[in-house]
């Protein structure tokens, strides 16, 4: 019976999301919206591994970039977008799986995890950057180094290479994918697998003492996050029509982390809010030259870490709850407590 109100919330949420999808293009240009949605999916992927698995990955951009590059490379070689699109999810997920296995089976934690993911991102960034010379070909696709890969087949209706999905259609496709991703994760974190993962994020040793193979769970969760970031990457590639090594940069990783912090990783909606708000902010900042972007984002990051470590989502959602006058359920409480809070030891509210 507790689940009932949850389903009610969910259905209302999805309904509102669809309303947003139809209404928003009247206020903001849809190409900007598409990008915000892509960023939201990327943020969601980090929100999953960080907020629920307790794995702070400094290299989420690596999977994003890998997804975008896989898409571009396979799209050039294959010419039809369906298979490249799937591969763009599979390749980063596999990569994340292998990387995760190395890290988690090696029992690396916190800082070292951060360092490894950071280093791997740097290696990829360096590597892709140094592929300008013509011998770096994958099939007929030239990796292009610093200049990236332009001119590949963008998203098309499956099976019809000439029916491009772009402009407004592309925006709708992205939005639907976002809703589906959100729902997928919503059910994932409520499944047995998800709950165990949350438990592991909360207290790894306890989970182990109970008899869960922590390494396996973390690795799989990490791979799911990687795949989702790859999906965002594929959409990005299709949106931008070019992929460049900048996708792998630390700056990109930093942005994802800032979105998550601002939105809050204690619930799935947090990273989405964060990505949308900051994405818009960045876009509007681009239309002025007085204040440097780095400064603005740096200040935001520091302020949130110091004063609002839970991010905006809890605040937004309490307003949301009041609007719905739904009862608080245990299940919702669970989502509120994040590992980040735990590390700090502020256990009592």
């Amino acid at each position: 019976m507790m689940l009932d109100s949850n389903y009610k919330n969910l259905i209302i949420g999805v309904f509102l999301a669809i309303v947003c999808m139809l209404v928003l293009p009247y206020f903001i240009e849809y190409y900007t919206l598409s990008l915000l949605i892509i960023y939201s999916i990327l943020a969601l992927s980090l929100g999953l591994v960080w907020g629920f698995g307790g794995i702070l990955c400094f290299g989420q951009a690596a999977f994003f970039g890998l997804g975008a590059y896989s898409y571009a490379v396979f799209a050039i070689n294959i010419g039809e977008s369906t298979l490249p699109f799937l591969l763009a999810i599979i390749v980063p997920a596999t990569f994340a799986f292998i990387l995760g296995a190395i890290m988690f089976y090696g029992r690396l934690t916190d800082v070292y995890l951060g360092v490894i993911t950071l280093v791997v991102t740097l290696i990829l960034f360096r590597f892709i950057n140094s592929t300008a010379s013509p011998e770096y070909m994958i099939g007929t696709a030239h990796l292009g180094g610093f200049n990236g890969i332009p001119n590949f087949q963008t998203l098309n209706i499956p099976g019809m290479p000439d029916a491009y999905i772009w402009d407004l259609d592309f925006y709708y496709v992205c939005f639907v994918i976002l809703i589906l991703s959100y729902l997928g994760l919503h059910f994932l974190v409520r499944s047995s697998f998800g709950r165990v993962s949350i438990g592991i994020g909360q207290n790894e040793q306890r989970a182990e003492l109970i008899g869960y193979d922590v390494r396996k769970y973390k690795t799989i969760l990490f791979a799911v996050g990687g795949g989702l970031a790859g999906l965002a990457g594929a959409l990005y590639a299709s949106w931008a029509e070019i992929v460049t090594p900048g996708l792998f940069s630390l700056g990109q990783s930093a942005e994802v982390i800032i979105w998550c912090i601002v939105g809050g990783v204690t619930r799935l909606s947090g990273p989405i809010f964060g990505a949308v708000i900051l994405g818009l902010l960045k876009y509007y900042l681009g239309q002025q030259t007085l204040i440097d972007n780095n400064l603005v984002f740096g200040v935001i990051l520091v302020i949130f870490v110091l004063f609002l470590p839970q991010g905006l989502a809890p605040a937004i959602s309490s307003v949301w709850k009041k609007l719905l006058t739904a009862k608080k359920s245990t299940r919702n409480k669970l989502r509120k407590r994040a590992p980040r809070q735990m590390q700090r030891g502020h256990l009592n509210e």
């Binding site: 916190d110 800082v111 950071l118 290696i123 360096r126 780095n294 740096g298 200040v299 870490v305």
Partner: protein, 262 residues
């Protein structure tokens, strides 16, 4: 240094270097003596900035490793932003004060010798300071267990401040010294920080031995590969080496090999 002692990963370290470089350049352009600028003024000013940031931000976050990482990342972005607004993104630089000379057929960059001398001096004095002076003892004590130091009547807060100041000042010094060799842009620090950061983390908690051993290892790996192939391979080899090392010795070199050393 800050990591080893205070269990803080400072992402803004590279930016402290960058600030040191800019301080040096501004001073030199204002007519100051270059050695005075990079050996005295740059560390002092950067140290003060570090101190200010420690008081304003970092001291609220001790013991929250991940949060400090994030906050210092934010600080690094702020510093880059401010410097960009003041100086712009265009490269700033000053010329090298020592001329090269010839050894046999080879031209040698005289300034490199100067850097090596300064580095040796720093490592030695750092070791001496930590190992043999009372201050060093207190600092080491405080890092091991702040409560003990506190119960002995030392204010751990002050000790943290001092250490952070010194760490920042050291980066300022490094930035100052490197300034004449490179073209300085606001994002310059980020290029170095990954390397320095990895060196320190892989080096592990024993500050000096760890630093020297991992720095030597990475430095030689980098240079050897750079010489044989090209700088990309040098860097990639360095990074791979770091990953492998962390995999084999997850606690850092010193924890696994040089146990119980400083």
């Amino acid at each position: 240094m800050i990591f080893g002692m205070m269990k803080i990963i400072n992402f803004a370290h590279g930016e402290f270097m960058m600030l040191g470089g800019y301080t040096t350049i501004v001073c030199v352009k204002a007519g100051a003596n270059i050695y005075l600028a990079m050996l005295v003024i740059a560390p002092l000013i950067v140290g003060m900035i570090g101190l200010l940031l420690e008081r304003l931000v970092i001291r609220h976050l001790y013991g929250r490793l991940v949060d400090t990482m994030l906050a210092t990342w934010g600080i690094s972005m702020i510093l880059i932003g401010i410097v960009t607004m003041i100086f712009g993104n265009t490269t700033e630089s000053i010329s090298t004060p020592i001329k090269g000379w010839a050894i046999g057929d080879y031209q040698v960059n005289g300034y490199n010798f100067f850097i090596i001398l300064v580095a040796i001096g720093l490592v030695c004095s750092g070791y001496f300071l930590l190992k043999f002076t009372r201050l060093g003892l207190i600092v080491r004590g405080a890092m091991q267990d702040p409560n003990v130091a506190a119960s002995l009547g030392y204010n751990p807060d002050r000790i943290y401040m001092t250490t952070f100041f010194m760490g920042a000042a050291l980066s300022g010094l490094a930035g100052g010294i490197l300034a004449p060799l490179v073209g300085l842009v606001p994002s310059w620090g980020t290029a170095y920080i990954a390397k320095a950061f990895i060196t320190v983390v892989v080096g592990g908690p024993a500050i000096i031995v760890g630093l020297v051993s991992s720095a030597t290892l990475f430095g030689s790996v980098n240079q050897i590969f750079a010489f044989i192939f090209n700088p990309v391979f040098g860097e990639v080899a360095l990074l791979l080496c770091a990953v492998i090392l962390l995999r084999i010795l997850p606690k850092g070199i010193t924890n696994s090999i040089f146990k119980g050393k400083l």
